[in-house]
């Protein structure tokens, strides 16, 4: 269905995350790894649809449905390596809108410094 009334639309959540890796990770590589992780863990019948809304400097936002939030978090946690580069995925937080997600989790990191305690 193309357009549904707001009451029938699925509720969305935005997961802010950070990857600590051995090298630089591309958005496509990450997307492929998450798909692989989801299919490995939950299979095609229990699969999850998601979208990488933003990704730069190994930090990004994944958008998914509220009911699939746990699965996305687990799939992200279970990623060990991307294209042979070892990865430590860190989930920074979850927000209801992209705007609040950016404000809460992404912009804070821009000024992050061990000196100011962030």
């Amino acid at each position: 269905m193309i357009s549904l009334p707001p009451s029938l639309r699925e509720k969305k959540r935005h997961v802010a995350f950070e990857l600590i890796s051995e090298g630089k990770i591309e958005k496509e590589e990450l997307s492929f790894s998450i798909w692989e992780s989801i299919l490995k863990l939950f299979g095609e019948f229990e699969g999850v649809d998601f979208k990488i809304t933003e990704f730069y400097d190994n930090r990004g936002i994944i958008t998914c449905n509220l009911k699939d939030l746990d699965k996305i978090k687990i799939a992200l946690t279970m990623i060990e390596s991307i294209e042979g580069k070892k990865v430590l995925p860190i989930i920074l937080g979850v927000a209801g809108t992209i705007k609040s997600c950016k404000k809460k989790y992404m912009e804070v990191l821009k000024d992050a410094d061990s000196a100011n305690g962030v």
């Binding site: 060990e80 995925p89 860190i90 989930i91």
Partner: protein, 192 residues
């Protein structure tokens, strides 16, 4: 909250743990645990004689794990893919107040076919742990930096497998107090 790891971590990232217990390696920055890998009960008995500090036992055999749980010096039964536990071991662990470790690295490091079996076994074990209210701890069990995970992420995975997160937090908090809270003596008894 405490995490059990297998390498000396410099704590460069805040992952939601207040302290780390390192098994199998020397550590100056973290608490050093005493790791015992035993083939049989006799081997375990001999190794326990020399052991001190926070003792964790690793064994593939159910009999050895059951024996380990009964020994006073043993504080935790550590997790690895080949570990086997039975109902009576978990029941004894409750009586003797021995922690059962469930680590994320065990799941991460198991292959595809093995992982399915491991997860099935893990679900069953967590069900029994919940029924008997056995002390347990959810850890990363990391052998290197990239196997570490945030506490919330570890809890999320085990919650999906049926772990009681409220109890997990309670046991982890209790262990932390045992190490760092001078007032703590035992449950319900504190120095004032």
């Amino acid at each position: 909250m405490i995490d059990f790891i297998r390498f000396d971590y410099d704590r460069s990232l805040n992952l939601g743990f207040q302290a780390y217990i390192v098994f199998g390696e020397n550590s100056e920055r973290n608490i050093k645990g005493y790791l015992i890998q035993a083939k049989d009960a006799r081997d375990l008995r001999e190794k326990l004689r020399k052991a001190d500090g926070f003792v964790g036992v690793m064994s593939e055999r159910v009999e050895v794990n059951r024996y380990a749980v009964m020994r006073k010096k043993v504080e935790a039964i550590l997790d690895f893919p080949e570990r086997k536990l039975d109902y009576s071991t978990l029941k004894l662990a409750k009586e003797k107040d021995v922690l059962i470790e469930f680590s994320l690295s065990t799941i991460l490091n198991s292959g595809r076919n093995k992982r399915v079996r491991l997860l099935e076994r893990l679900r069953k074990t967590l069900q029994v742990v919940k029924k008997l209210d056995t002390p347990f701890i959810l850890t990363s069990g990391a052998r290197e930096f990239y196997e570490l995970r945030k506490r919330n992420q570890i809890y999320e995975v085990f919650s999906y497998l049926g772990a009681d997160l409220a109890r997990a937090s309670y046991w982890a908090e209790r262990l932390y107090r045992k190490f760092f809270d001078e007032k703590y003596i035992m449950d319900g008894v504190e120095r004032i």
